[in-house]
Each structure stands twice: as structure tokens, then as C-alpha cells.
Amino acid sequence: MSAKNPEYDFKWCPGCGDFGVRRAIEAALKQRQTETEQPMVNNVVVAGIGCSGNMVHLLEGEQPYGIHGIHGRSLPIAMGVKMGSPSLNVLVVAGDGDFLSIGQEHIAPQAARNLDITAVIMDNGVYGLTKGQSSPTTKVDTITSSTPFGKSEQALNPLMLYLALGVSYLASHVSTRVKDLGTTIADAMNHKGFSVVHVQSPCTTYNNTFQELKGNPKEGIAPLAWNIPEQHDSSDLEQAYEVVKQGGIPLGVIYRNTERPSLQDRVDEINNKSFERKIESIIESFAI
């Protein structure tokens, strides 16, 4: 919404990582608008359900189109929008619960198709909006409201999952590096294919990991986040796996495959070699 809306009563908690992601997305959309000379209404933000899904209502400035749909289903909705109107730029915003738990089944097919959209995932390792249940990225043994005796599942490694499923562009980031994140999201939107920007966006209420990510030298806590070295060749899948295997939170572009055709390329190819069948000739084909 472009102005404060008195009817809209949702608020992120003070210090929520999603504020930083919001500013990064606003900057990326602005950058894209300048670069492509396309109006803001050429963008569609498809949100999941959860704290992060409210992103679509909280973006400030000139307004893109938006969908605030169904828990877990942002990817198939985005597929419909993109394939329905291929010149649109489609951006999915979702959290770890939405994207990696209930919605995980939708990642593999879009990666296989190389659907030309960008997904910005805000990972806080917890279900915040429903008040602190464990999520796929919550660490094993963690006590949460839904795991009072400790979580029994091991945490999912989302970056490894994306690579294994064949996502053609993968970046990892933290919500505090707003400027870098904005540039990365803009870069991901320029990628022709399925791009995922996985962002650590801490929940200050239920799972505050700001200190863990940044580190605290005084208390001897080493930072989880680390910069991917400049010599990393992101076009090399093996090197991408090596980056992810090092653990922690790598910052920057992990993998970028510019060779694969997008789903739209495939559809264009098929539509170019087929021809439109007119209704009259279709009906004639059933003539007795």
C-alpha cells in the first residue's frame, strides 16, 4: 500500500528482519524500473502466508500488483501469472514454513521447468505468525511451542535442497545487508529462469539469530555469515556445492546457470512449430 492504511492492522515486530528485506525489495524493484523502463505495474509480487507474506501489503512507494494467496502455494500461483502474461516480472515472497514445509512440493517442478520468476525466501527458522512453532529450518533439539521436549527432526539445509532440485540461480543473504541484498534481488530478477534468493531474516520474538549471524567477538561467538570469495565461479555447479558444504551462511551468488532455456522458451518453441486451430476447422473435424 502506498500510504498508511488505517484498516490494515498487521505489524512486524520491532527489529524484525523482514524490514530489511522489504527495503531491499523496494530498491530492487526501483532499480528494475529504471533499467527496463517498465512501469511499476509490470511487477507482480506473489506472497505466501505468514509474517513474510505481509510483505505484499507493506511495500512502500509506487505499487506493483500483488497476490496474497494460499499458504504454500505461491509458486504455482506465480507460474500461472508468469505463463499467463510472460512480459510481467513475477516475484515470490515467502517464509521458510510456507516455502519449505507446506509448499516444498512445488519447488522441484518449477526448478525442472526453469520457470522465469524470482523467489525471495525469508528464513527465520520458526513459524512466527502462529507464535513460535518449529519449522523445517529449526535446529534439532530446539525447544519451541510445538516441540516442548525438543525438535526431533534434523534441520533442512535449504541451499543444498535448491541445488539438488536444479534451481538455475541461487543466492544466499542476510536481511541486515540491505544494499547488497537489493542488488542481488535485482540481479536475480534479471536471470532468465528460476532464481531463489534465500535470506536469513531473524525473528526477534521467537528466534533471534542476529548475534549468531553477525558474531560477537567480545563473547567469542564466530559469525555464521561469511562472504563468498570473489574467485568463486558461480557457473560451476561443483563449486556451488562446495560453497554450500562449507556451512554457515554464505553471502552472495552461489550458482548461476545461464545456459538452460526457461519454460517460456520451451513453450515459445512449441507454439512456433504448431499453429492455432480455428474453432470452425475443429468442429469440422467431427463432421459426420
Binding site: Y65, G84, E105, P109
Partner: protein
Amino acid sequence: MQKNDFVVRFAGEGGQGMVTSSEGLAQAASSVGYNVQTFVTFPSQIMGGPTWAQARVSTSPVLSSGDSLDVLVAFNEEAYMAHKDEVSDGGVVIFNSGAFQPESGGNSFGMEFAKLAKQTGNARAENMIVLGALAYLVGMSQQILDDFVRERFTRGREGDEEIIIANIKALTLGRQEAEKSGFSLGELAPPEKPEGDQILINGNEAVAVGAIAAGVNFYVGYPISPATAILLWMERNLTGEGKFVYQASSEIEAINAVFGGGYAGRKAMSATAGPGLSLMGEGLGLAWMAEVPLVIVDVQRGGPSTGLPTKTEQSDLLMALTPGHGDISMPIIAPGTVEECFYASVMAFNWAERYQGPVILLSEHMLSERRQNIPKPEISKLKVENRKVYTGSNGYNRYDGWELSPMPIPGTPGSYIANGSEHDVMGDTTHLAERHIQMTERRFSKLKLLENESYESENTDASIVIMPWGGSKGPASAAYAQLQADGADLGWYYTMFLNPLPVKMLEELKKKSLVIVPELNYMGQMSGILRSQGVKAVSITQYTGLPFKVADLAKRITERVAQEKKEGVTV
């Protein structure tokens, strides 16, 4: 005496050409001007299993697949035992004497299907042997079938001529065998060519072609019996620039993609069956809530759960009405004939665009596989409706007001949020009571745009009326005609527009002392809906996986009417 109508059933093992035989007969007979209707039922497996297909050929329009058989073609003993009791007095059984010998002969004769086929030089000509024998039994001219074979197998390929010669030889051999048997069913009256051009098409095809006529340009589906044929047809035919057709990874993906397509400005569609519709419930709720046009076809099969995937039933009506949670009244169009499948599809798109929301086209297995001659649709006379599109500048309140408003298309000014949460005028989430009241009433008010569609009525002075829905229309109309001829004082109402019902029709139904609804489910779903709308309705139900038989239905209607008159009380 000349016969005006005959019913043939081909029964055997899946893969023995039952469907080809019945469709071949239908094609041949319709090509010279007979009216035809096929009916197919088979088990849910790729090969084998008891399968049967039926063809009815008539000089007048065919309303049902036929109660009893003039000819049963039994490919094996199991099929013979299962179907012999449905052969009418004076009917004939042709059995495969290469496979078995029936205990008591009766009106039957055997042919060695495989051996005869081999003599033609084409081992796959078994069903042509059978068609030849059939043609003799019903006194159909050899020329009709010869012409049919020539047309069907002239495909511009090498070896066409050989196949044609072998098949004609097969027809002749079959004819000679039947002649030897000494049986005859009398001569089939010459065809009375239906007025106007005809096409031969089945229900699934008619739905798909209707969608094309309505301007569908976005289709995402997932394979499921008995709706798969619509996906396959679309994959082959919804082609060319600007078209999108895709096999999704699940019905959940399909409904959400179709939602996205509708939001982006497309005429979007998916087809599924009961289990798929269950999965689509949440997505349909989103489309209702966010006011996005789309069409979902549910080709009903037996339920619940996996149920009877390849049998017919009309038991998804209640789910179609409220497929998702919360206050929803989903528009439903349920065609009752193959011809109506075409027009229902056009109307489903018109409704979706007119009221800006999801529409369910409720088809049935028995319609989907039924191949029938229908009048050729006149495309120039079709009314195709398109979306009321917003053309103003940015800052538009998409959901302002209590009624329908123009819909912006992404990429053009007027950005808004399509929101599954309750929302304010621009689509932002809200919890305000007065806003939920406004939006709920807004969504329901749009149904008024759909409640003035057409319906059939006859003998409207009668206080007791029959009102079938969907595919039970055929058998019910045949039963009604029979009861009318017997002097029963009964009225007739029918519409394919089930929700909302045509408002005038509903008013008339409310005045009746009894509305009898023949329907293929246990619960009596439609009569329950009618009662909730103030109509004194009762159902005549059947849940066998098969359609009503006309004589049986007529008997049950007569009994129900007698009970009503005796008791003098209603429902």
C-alpha cells in the same frame, strides 16, 4: 416388420476392441443418417478386466443407452454369463466359439472370431467380423459398412488398401456366418436423416471444443479418470501463439496456476474428477474470495475417496456447491447431454467472466465417454462474453462497492492485491466487521448476474413434476415420455444451470406439491438443495455406478406418485 431402434453390447476383456467395435458401429450408422449413442464402462486398469461397450442405433434421437439388448456379442464366457440376462426376448447372442461354448444355446450362434480374422489376412479384424454379422442380423446394407471402412482406413499411408480389403473381407465373412445361423432381427428401417448438419462427438471432446469456442487460452491439468481426455485434447489442440497448456504436478498446482492465469487476464481452465476437485477446494475458495474468473470441469465418477474411477455417479454436487471452507456458493453448470456439454462449456466461461469468479462445470463419466451425433454448433450464433476490464489510472479501488466492478489486468494501471484474506477496497488485509459484511455481500450479490438463464418446462399445470439433473436427463426424459403416453399427469422441469437456479424456475417449483428428482447418488443431493430453497422435493436414487434404466425409472416414478396421492402428505 421394420425395426426403428436396436441396441448392441460388446462384452469381453479390455483390449479386445469393445470400444472400437461400438464406436465403429456408431460411426458407420451415423454416416448414413441414423442417430447413435455409445456407452462404455471398464475397470480401472490398462489391459484386461471385464469391459463392455454398447451402441444404440435409431431412426429417432437417442435419449438413453437402452435398457435391454437386441444383440449381445460375448467375447468370452465370463462376459456371456454376466450379460446374457439383459438380452431381450427375441434378441440374439453372438459368442466367440473359439473361446467357449454356452451351456444352453437359446437364441445364439457362435463364430470363431480369431480364426475368421486370420482368414482375412489381418488378425486384428475380429471386430470387423462381428460388425459384418451384426449388419446382417439387423438388415443393414453391406454398402454402409464397406463405405465406412474405406473412409476410416484411407489415411494416406502405405498399406491402406491392404487393410481396407482385409476389413471388407472380414465384414463379408461375418455376414456369411450370420446368414448360416438363420437368425434375423428384422430389417432396420432406413435412416431418417436428422435435420441440419451433424457432428459425432463425445462429452469430454464437446467440453473441450466448447471451451475453445468460448476463447480458452490457458489450460493447466493433471491426469485423472475420467477427465484425462480433456487434458490430452487440449495438449494437442490448444496450440499456437499466445496459448498455454500444461500438465501440472498435481491438482493443487493446477488450480493455483489457473488462478494465476485468470488473474493475469486469461480465460483459464482445468478439468479434473472428484479426488482432484477435493484438492482444488482451497484454490477455488481463493478465486471466490479474490474474485478471479476461472473454469473447473469436474467429470464426476463414483466416490467417495478413490471410489469407482471408471463408473458413473452424480455425487459431487454438494462438494461442487461449497468446495472450500467458509461462505461460498459456487456457480455450477451441469450438462445433461453430449450436446449440452458443448454449450455448458461456453456458458461456464461466460459466467466466469460475467461475475468475475470461479465456475464449476459438472460433467459425468457417462457423458464423457458417450459418443453421439449432435447438431453441428453454429459458431456465428454463439454469444461469447468477455471480462469487464478496468482502463483507468493507478490508485484504483478494485473492491469498492457492493457489486461487480471492472477488473484491472497486471501490466496496466490499476494495481491491487488479490487477497485470500478478507480485504479492504484495495485488497489489503482487514479484520473490520463492517468490511467483512460488505465484501461477503458483494461476493454473493454477483450471483444475481447468473440467475436468469434458460430452463425446460412442460405440462406446468401438473402438481407433481419430474426434475432430473445432469446425465440422468436422458433416461428421465424417456421415462417421462412413456408415462405421459400412459396418461400420467406429470410435469417436467430441467435446467443445466444448477447454481444459481433460474429464479423463475425456482418460483414455479415452489408451487408444486412434489418435485421428483432422479439422481445417481445415495444422499439425494439435489433434492436436499431444493428443499433448502423451499421446494418440496424428493429423490429417486441409484448408486450402482451405472445410469438409470428407463423402464425401471418409470416404474419407480409411478410408485412414488402413487404413494404421494395415497398419503396426501409431502416429503
